[in-house]
């Protein structure tokens, strides 16, 4: 298990993250600031660094470049006071492992740090096809941890949305990405899905394409969305018969939380739209 370096030992969040990481039995060290972090990296090996929660993304990326001069494979979880779409794109391009701004969840950050520390791959799991504020297009490998990583960036990119709309959209997107990776690629890390996120003045549009052969909605008996109106729990029995884990609510949840959810003919491409109230077009 590789070691984690947590920068900024004076804040409560870092204490909470450190406590959660300790619960995962992860070896870690805390250091107060950037110079000390560099000094420690020169002295011993770390797999991941978590930056200070009161820093700027730009400063963190500059630090990351320095740190990778010492340890090239270092993974970095960026915590920052705030982020702009340009910052998030720069972080993606810099192969940051995950990115968070307030409100922080120490448990979630620790969980992603655990992935970072235990994951031998990851550096090329998120490939940027096109990125500018308002339009992000990526190709990602079909791994659960990559989906989790991607969601941290998508959340940041939609940070300008009202909180409840952002939560709904992210919930739907997460379900769709997980479905694509699971049912479209069997979580095969050699396969990829494409995700395009577009924020316009009045809508947030997500498009996901997986490499699978799609599905027939009539055959979705194991999913809640395929239940007949008079038997809203029919899928539970179907899943039990098929020996599947409890669940199957993904598509139903997704379709309930966005304004439009539409699949292509074979079912391996999906478009999600959330309409926004009139707002500035300076875009997420």
């Amino acid at each position: 298990m590789s070691r984690i370096l947590v920068i900024g030992d004076h804040c409560h969040l870092n204490e909470a993250i450190a406590a959660a990481l300790t619960a995962f039995n992860l070896p870690l060290e805390c250091c107060p600031e950037h110079a000390d972090a560099l000094a420690r990296l020169r002295m011993q090996s770390f797999a991941a660094v978590i930056t200070s929660c009161d820093s700027e993304v730009e400063a963190d990326l500059a630090l990351l470049a320095e740190m990778r001069g010492v340890q090239p494979e270092l993974k970095c979880i960026v915590l920052a006071r705030s982020s702009t779409p340009d910052d998030v794109i720069a972080a993606l391009r810099a192969h940051v492992f995950a990115c968070y701004t307030p409100p922080f969840s120490a448990g979630e950050i620790a969980r992603v740090a655990f992935y970072a520390a235990t994951d031998g791959e990851g550096k090329d799991d998120i490939q940027i096809l096109s990125a500018k504020p308002g339009w992000l297009s990526v190709r990602v490998n079909c791994r659960m941890v990559t989906a989790e990583r991607l969601m941290t960036f998508e959340r940041e990119l939609s940070a300008l949305l009202p909180e409840h709309r952002r939560r709904e959209m992210m919930q739907a997107l997460r379900e769709i990405i997980m479905n694509s990776m699971e049912h479209g690629a069997g979580f095969n890390p050699d396969q990829t899905i494409e995700v395009i996120a577009i924020c316009t003045a009045r809508s947030l549009v997500f498009y996901v394409r997986d490499p699978g052969s799609g599905f027939d909605r009539e055959h979705l008996k194991h999913a809640a969305i395929g239940n007949p109106p008079d038997n809203p729990a029919a899928h539970i029995l179907e899943r039990e018969k098929a020996g599947m884990r409890p669940g199957g609510y993904g598509l139903l949840v997704a379709s309930g939380t966005v304004d439009e959810l539409i699949f292509n003919e074979i079912g391996n491409e999906v478009l999600l739209i959330k309409y926004l109230p009139a707002m500035a077009a300076d875009g997420a």
């Binding site: 339009w135 297009s137 316009t200 009045r202 304004d259 539409i262 699949f263 491409e269």
Partner: protein, 288 residues
């Protein structure tokens, strides 16, 4: 130039199309109905058939299957009383050359028939990637005629939109499609553009992806969309200096007729959205 067969010699539209084709000096014949059309096809060679304007798409497609038994390379321009998205998709899959429903424009149909009669490399120009009512994805070769053909299907697929909305959307799509083919592929017929049209309850979304290296908006000095606020005709001088044809209004026009027009980072992908509720997109959905 191959011969054209027009089915339905009793209707005004057929006569008007015939007159327009005569003006283009195209050889043509009229057939009284389906059986007569089949008989004529057995007797001599035709390159193009224009179906009867008061038929149904389904009948026309059944007839086309029969006609292609006789003349496998036959091109067909379907005219029909009306069309549904399902029918338009079937027509696309059946490699119909173009599809029209009322209001008909005899000149436009004659021009399309002229293209069809003189074009030999069309059959695989529109490849259906995915098609169901509400979501059609195609890959099209970068030829002007293919763009015009595709527009006839796009028009039919958006038939249920209010007329002004449809016209605006089609105008924008045409500009973007031609831009993609011209600037993204220099109308190279070996290259392809991908077009996806998605109709949801409250919006119409088009996505166009060309194979080019994109463009930088700052360098678009030859296009009206980049003119400084205080000089709305600056691009005209620049086009003249560069020896370009007059124009450059495509993007400006497209931008003005849809609700959203957004390019990817490098500029070879573009998304167009037209909201169907007049822009109150966060309001509850209306029926479709």
């Amino acid at each position: 130039m191959s011969r054209i067969l027009i089915i339905g010699d009793h209707c005004n539209l057929s006569s008007e199309i015939g007159t327009a084709l005569n003006a283009l000096e195209l050889p043509l014949e009229y057939a009284a109905g389906h059986a007569d059309a089949l008989k004529r096809l057995r007797m001599r060679s035709f390159g193009v058939v224009v179906t009867n304007c008061d038929s149904a798409v389904e009948e026309d497609l059944a007839l086309l299957a029969e006609m292609r038994e006789v003349r496998p390379g036959l091109k067909c321009i379907v005219l029909a009383r009306q069309s549904t998205p399902d029918e338009v998709i079937k027509a696309l899959r059946a490699r119909v050359f173009a599809c029209f429903s009322p209001p008909f424009d005899a000149e436009e149909i004659a021009h399309m028939a002229h293209y069809a009669a003189s074009d030999s490399a069309w059959r695989d120009d529109i490849q259906v990637l995915s098609a169901k009512p509400g979501w059609v994805s195609v890959r099209v070769n970068c030829r002007l005629i293919t763009a015009e053909r595709l527009m006839t299907f796009a028009k039919e697929l958006s038939m249920r939109l209010p007329e002004n909305t449809r016209q605006e959307m089609m105008q924008a799509l045409r500009e973007i499609l031609l831009n993609a083919m011209e600037h993204g592929a220099a109308f190279n017929p070996e290259q392809v553009v991908e077009v996806t049209a998605i109709r949801t309850a409250r919006s119409f979304v088009f996505y166009v992806h060309d194979p080019g290296a994109g463009f930088r908006r700052e360098l678009l000095t030859h296009a009206a969309v980049a003119n400084p606020d205080d000089d709305p005709t600056a691009h005209l001088t620049l086009r003249e200096e560069a020896g370009l044809r007059p124009g450059g209004y495509g993007l400006l026009l497209a931008q003005g007729t849809v609700d959203e027009l957004i390019y990817s980072e490098i500029g070879n992908e573009v998304l167009l959205i037209k909201y169907l509720d007049g822009g109150n997109s966060a309001e509850p959905a209306h029926t479709t």
